[in-house]
């Protein structure tokens, strides 16, 4: 049996761990609010953007654009968005597993694969795997900037236009609610016309209604907006992943704190038992000694 001192040391240690996990929980909660705000601020932009894209896709002939060209898929690329930091439960592992599954599926169909990474955790994993890494952007999830999304978007678009990959999928941690984050796939390139027209078209209000004046021509506008649309989607995925990450960390740290509390309780019980046992043993000694003296 562990000695009294051993148990006490263990209790102090776990108490310190508990302090850390509690603090991390609170930090994650604060960061979570921030990233949730940013996600919500981005939503009107993204919504409006897809609305206009949808309108344009109806007007213009979408098949004339290189970014929409559906060709036979020989090489498939996946853009994996993970967090930069760990200690957020199975969040990153879930995303990476989903990515691995995707790669296995594509390989079994006889296709080549490539990976692009946003976020350090995904990069660290895939860097060690036997898979082609086309680009990586790390240390960007703490402060998400459009620049990073743009860089990633440009890489993907260039790879696609140069014929190096034939499709690009996006994988990110979708934020369902605070306790649920789901790895989710989205097809990024080629942009499909059905995707576009699914974009929310705003309800018309009063005022003159007529066909739009396009400046420049709709086709030209579309060709300018399409790369931006890719960026917008990547940006949205990054914001959502960041939000999910903090939520996952909150849950993970909450669980850890609770586990700490449980352990402390058990150990205190064991400590008290051990202490009582030693007192009893001592008493027995004294009583035994006194009996012996009586003769």
């Amino acid at each position: 049996m562990a000695s009294l001192k051993d148990i006490q040391l263990k209790i102090t240690g776990i108490k310190k761990t508990e302090q850390i996990t509690k603090a991390m929980n609170m930090v994650a909660a604060a960061k979570f609010r921030g990233s949730q705000e940013r996600m919500e601020e981005f939503r009107p932009y993204a919504g409006k953007f897809s609305g206009v894209m949808g309108q344009l896709a109806v007007t213009a002939n979408p098949n004339a654009f290189p970014l929409m060209e559906e060709r036979e898929v020989k090489k498939s690329m996946i853009l994996v968005v993970t967090s930069d930091r760990g200690l957020c439960g199975a969040f990153n592992a879930n995303i990476i597993n989903a990515a691995e599954q995707f790669l296995r599926d594509k390989r079994s169909e006889g296709k080549e694969v490539a990976v692009g990474c946003i976020g350090k955790k995904g990069y660290q994993y895939f860097n060690r795997q036997d898979v082609e890494m086309v680009f990586d952007i790390t240390d960007c999830m703490a402060r998400i900037e459009m620049v990073d999304a743009r860089t990633a978007g440009k890489e993907c678009i260039n790879l696609f236009l140069d014929g190096k990959v034939d499709e690009v999928h996006l994988l990110y941690g979708r934020f369902v609610n605070v306790v649920t984050q789901k790895p989710t796939f989205k097809k990024l390139i080629p942009i499909s016309a059905t995707d576009l027209s699914e974009g929310e078209v705003e309800e018309e209000e009063s005022g003159p209604k007529a066909t739009y004046i396009y400046e420049p021509a709709p086709e030209e506008i579309l060709s300018i907006l399409m790369p931006m649309f890719v960026n917008v989607q990547i940006m949205a995925a990054m914001l959502e992943t960041a939000c999910s990450e903090q939520a996952a960390r909150m849950t993970a740290m909450d669980n850890a704190s609770r586990a700490c509390a449980d352990m402390i309780q058990e150990l205190t019980l064991a400590y008290n038992k051990a202490r009582q046992a030693s007192i009893t043993a001592e008493l027995m000694d004294i009583v035994g000694g006194a009996e012996a003296l009586k003769g």
């Binding site: 940013r38 601020e41 981005f42 009107p44 932009y45 409006k48 953007f49 206009v52 309108q55 344009l56 459009m146 018309e204 209000e205 009063s206 005022g207 003159p208 209604k209 007529a210 066909t211 739009y212 004046i213 396009y214 400046e215 420049p216 709709p218 030209e220 506008i221 300018i224 907006l225 931006m228 917008v232 940006m235």
Partner: protein, 138 residues
Amino acid sequence: MANKLNLEVVTPTKLVVSDQVDLCTVPGTEGAFGVMANHAPILSTLAIGEMHYDKDGNMVRVAVSGGFVEVSSNRMTVLAEAAEISEEIDVDRALKAKERAEKRLQEALSGREDIDMARAKAALARALTRLKVAGHMS
């Protein structure tokens, strides 16, 4: 209110303007144009430049870059990659950006091929617009 235009300027980071305005002028890629209430629906891409709107006789200037503008049913939406109202512009940052862009442009002109001319030019245009809107240059 009648004869007002509902203007919204949206960027990826925030809703910059949401207001009822009388007139709004934006820098379209095919040339600047003004929009008043009951304008015909129009969709135009945006150049880097200055947009301004009038509200009850006051003019507000905004530096915008990249994106598009949509007008339909008395609602005008400007979707820009960046937009700043004149008072919110960080002049120091814009000045630094201008110097940087000018330097890069110089280097590009003197034959360095690793510099993207178009990007340097766009960066310079953005910086100049910001300074102009902030009232630091004529």
